[in-house]
């Protein structure tokens, strides 16, 4: 049995390599917000209140492009609706927690944290304080995101644009799924999702980000049926 502290530390360690892409991206997000003409306090408020990487940039870009607040808010909701899927997966491991603890822990569920904690949960089902791993990944992400976006807001985009560091984001997610390329069923699901995302990229409100996972999960269900 690992202690709470050990699990928390393990979570921190498991997510920290992703900071290589998260920190430059956070700096870019903060800098873009100020460049688009928004008040620095508002740009930072988003990191605290929304706490959701790409959705923050989309939100500001839509508003500065003249879209209504309603459209901007709806887009954030749709982009972040993928968390519903993460929650459904995590609920199995978190169900013993009290309602209040579930409410608190939900705030720190992020893409990379979900991915790394889910991998850990699958291998260590019997641990009693599993959720401390998720708190570890989530809090590490939270602290780094606040510092990175703040430094982008205060210092401007001191990360040279020519480096194209936004490209680190797809790379970080490649690192997360690459081992599943060993399994044919997962490869089919990934390709379905990837191609759908390109096909529906122009769909309104950035909805490709939830449409393509739904299509891919439908294909996964079909594959499971065929396997039997």
């Amino acid at each position: 049995m690992l202690t709470k502290k050990q699990l928390f530390t393990r979570g921190m360690l498991d997510i920290s390599p992703h900071m290589l892409s998260v920190i430059p991206f956070g700096i870019i997000c903060g800098a873009i917000g100020v460049e688009l003409g928004f008040h620095p306090y508002l740009v930072y408020a988003m990191s605290f209140i929304i706490f959701g990487g790409a959705s923050q940039i989309v939100f500001l870009q839509l508003l500065s492009g003249g879209a209504s607040s309603l459209v901007a808010v709806a887009s954030v909701g749709i982009i972040n609706s993928r968390h519903l899927l993460y929650g459904a997966v995590l609920s199995e491991y978190l169900e013993k927690l009290s309602f209040i603890k579930k409410l608190l822990i939900s705030y720190v569920v992020v893409d990379q944290g979900f991915a790394e904690s889910n991998k850990f949960f699958k291998k260590n089902r019997s641990e009693e304080f599993l959720h401390y791993h998720l708190i570890g990944t989530g809090c590490t992400m939270w602290v780094c995101w606040q510092i990175a976006t703040l430094s982008g807001i205060v210092l401007g985009s001191f990360v040279p644009e020519e480096l194209g560091l936004k490209f680190a984001i797809p790379l970080t997610f490649i690192a997360i799924v690459v081992q599943d390329l060993k399994k044919l069923d997962h490869v089919i699901v990934m390709i379905t999702c990837g191609l759908s995302s390109l096909l529906f990229f122009e769909a309104p409100f950035k909805s490709y980000i939830i449409i393509s996972p739904i299509i891919a999960l439908f294909v996964a269900a079909l594959l499971l049926r065929l396997k039997k």
Binding site: L63, G87, N118, E162, F167, A175, V178, M190, Y208
Partner: protein
């Protein structure tokens, strides 16, 4: 005005995070649904990966000889064999920089 919109966007985002964790209990998900949910990472992350590689900042498709495609391929190969996140990201970035700064400059 903008702050109000940010708060609404934040509440909406929080609800997407909280709903399934707080309101779903184990009995509500059958074994079949759980089996499908095991595919969530493979079904979600390519929707971030593919557009991040194949679509540029202006929302149009990149050329087939774009350095990002090469960088992504290198990242996949290095990631597959090294099982190391830092190696995967660095290999992808360095090979991408090599093409844009050395080969194509």
């Amino acid at each position: 005005m903008t702050l109000t919109a940010i708060i609404f966007a934040g509440i909406l985002t929080y609800f997407t995070r909280m709903t399934m964790i707080a309101l779903i209990s184990r009995d509500m998900l059958g074994d079949k649904i759980k089996a499908v949910l095991a595919y969530v990472p493979s079904a979600v992350f390519p929707a971030i990966i593919f557009p991040g590689i194949f679509i540029n900042d202006f929302g149009t498709f990149i050329e087939m000889n774009d350095p990002k495609i090469f960088g992504a391929l290198v990242a996949v190969i290095v990631g597959y064999f090294s099982k190391n996140i830092i190696a995967t990201i660095s290999a992808g970035l360095v090979s991408y920089w090599f093409l844009i700064f050395v080969v194509f400059s």
